[in-house]
């Protein structure tokens, strides 16, 4: 929306916060599930996030990240995946044996491929 219109109305049309599952892109999710099947096992207990080293410095949230991958919400993922330090601490707390460290690595890879149209 152009400046002039902004001035004219003093407000804009708010962007939707809706997750529209039918229009979202689930390629990344498919790629991650293929490369790291244990990803499916996450039941969002948040243990990884609680212990996360990077999470103490910034709002990196592995639990949320997994969920966004599942819903095909790529936009918010792009930056999130870059935050992880791959220290592997989360591996030791995951009650479902999810290979969390590789989930991040694969997700980052998937996003790169997506941008190169290789997915």
């Amino acid at each position: 929306m152009s400046e002039t219109l902004e001035k004219k109305f003093g407000f804009t049309i708010n962007p939707s916060r809706l997750i529209d599952y039918d229009t979202s892109d689930r390629k990344v999710r498919e790629y991650v599930t293929l490369k790291e099947p244990s990803f499916k096992l996450c039941f969002a207990c948040g243990g990884c996030t609680a212990t996360c080293t990077a999470g103490q410095h910034i709002s990196f949230n592995l639990r949320r990240m997994n969920n966004l991958i599942r819903r095909g919400e790529i936009a918010p993922l792009r930056e999130e995946v870059t935050r992880c330090m791959l220290c592997g601490k989360c591996l030791l707390v995951c009650p479902r044996g999810v290979n969390t460290r590789n989930v991040v690595a694969v997700a980052a890879e998937a996003i790169r491929k997506l941008e190169r149209n290789e997915l």
Partner: protein, 353 residues
């Protein structure tokens, strides 16, 4: 979609709507923005149906907008409404007919409160007496004006000169009905047909020959939402809510939207202009915008009233294509002429003006 399923629900939510002697309370928004509607209501009631509808000039705003805008406390609004009841009592009326859905919501909220917390009723009586020296009886019924038109919909249909149908093809018009949130979402029992599938407007549309469109966002709010609209910076929420509805009804190519709430009628109409400006999108089958009319205006059209008398021209989306479809002769040139024939100032930015 299974009709019997809906009928079952409608059967559960029947309310007792009196058939005569109403104390009419007007709506702030409606009498300013489309005064024709309330006028039409009175005309239909008195001339066509021969009912007794009483108005008291001393009736004031219910202060609902202030209440929902967090500037009027609940005690105050109870007292204001109590005063309305007092006026009715003094005039000897026991049935209230309410023009505005916000007021209707306020009235029902207050009546429910008094039912469950009698002490608040006592407090209100005291406050009112101290302030005005008035006393009041709780009205027997409160009906929204649309309830009343709903009750007499078939009688209107019998008197009808036009149908909600395309005269050229004979096909029924595709009509979107929009119910104000405060009509029944707060207290389903107060609305004809409850909260999920209200029957009040559907009933009218069906008996006047139209086809009701059931689209995914049918229940969604028009976006008025007092806090959102009243603060300019928040209007984006209001606007995007309306757009959500338009996007959702678009595939069905509706000919017309009927609303029973001042805010809804106004915003679904005005926002079409704003969206056209911002997104350069106009909705409606032929991209000519979707006319948004009040149920009284539609009733009026069906009964053959003069559209310009009812003030249809004061909507942002003009209804000429609709009128043509319905076969109603109305001279566009006469739209902005005063009774004495002098030209009225013509509003700018009309859609398919």
């Amino acid at each position: 979609m299974k009709l019997e399923g809906k009928k079952r629900i409608w059967a559960e939510y029947q309310k007792d709507i009196p058939d005569d002697h109403f104390f009419y309370v007007r709506s702030c928004i409606r009498q300013t923005f489309f005064a024709g509607s309330e006028q039409t209501f009175l005309k239909i009631m008195r001339d066509d149906l021969g009912k007794d509808v009483f108005e008291d000039p001393r009736h004031t705003t219910c202060t609902g907008i202030g209440y929902h805008g967090d500037v009027v406390p609940f005690e105050t609004i109870q007292t204001v409404v109590a005063r309305h009841f007092a006026l009715a009592t003094e005039a000897g009326y026991r049935h209230i007919a309410i023009s505005c859905v916000t007021s209707f919501g306020i009235y029902s909220e207050i009546l429910e409160t008094w039912k469950h917390f009698p002490e608040t009723l006592e407090r209100t009586r005291e406050d009112l007496y101290k302030a005005t020296g008035r006393t009041f009886d709780i009205p027997e019924t409160i009906s929204h004006a649309s309830d009343i038109i709903y009750k007499f919909r078939d009688e209107i249909a019998r008197k009808a000169k036009y149908n909600l149908a395309d005269v050229s093809t004979g096909k029924p018009l595709k009509v979107v009905e929009h119910i104000g949130c405060h009509y029944s979402k707060m207290f389903p029992r107060y609305g004809v047909g409850g909260a999920e599938f209200p029957h009040v407007l559907i009933g009218m549309i069906e008996s006047w020959g139209g086809d009701v469109i059931d689209y995914p966002e049918r229940r969604h709010c028009c976006g008025f939402g007092f806090r959102q609209y009243l603060i300019q910076a928040n209007r984006g929420y209001s606007l995007s809510a309306s757009r959500k509805k338009f996007e959702s009804m678009e595939p069905y190519q509706p000919d017309l939207i009927i609303a029973n709430c001042p805010g809804c009628a106004m915003f679904m109409d005005r926002w079409q202009y704003t969206i056209k400006e911002i997104d350069s999108v106009t909705y409606g089958g032929d991209g000519q915008g979707i006319p948004v009319l009040t149920y009284e205006e539609v009733a009026g059209l069906v009964l053959g009233y003069d559209p310009w008398e009812m003030g249809l021209q004061f909507h942002n989306v003009q209804s000429l294509p609709l009128l043509r479809k319905m076969g109603i002769k109305a001279d566009p040139a006469r739209r902005f002429l005063a009774k004495d024939g002098s030209r009225l100032p013509e509003p700018a930015n009309l859609i398919n003006g």
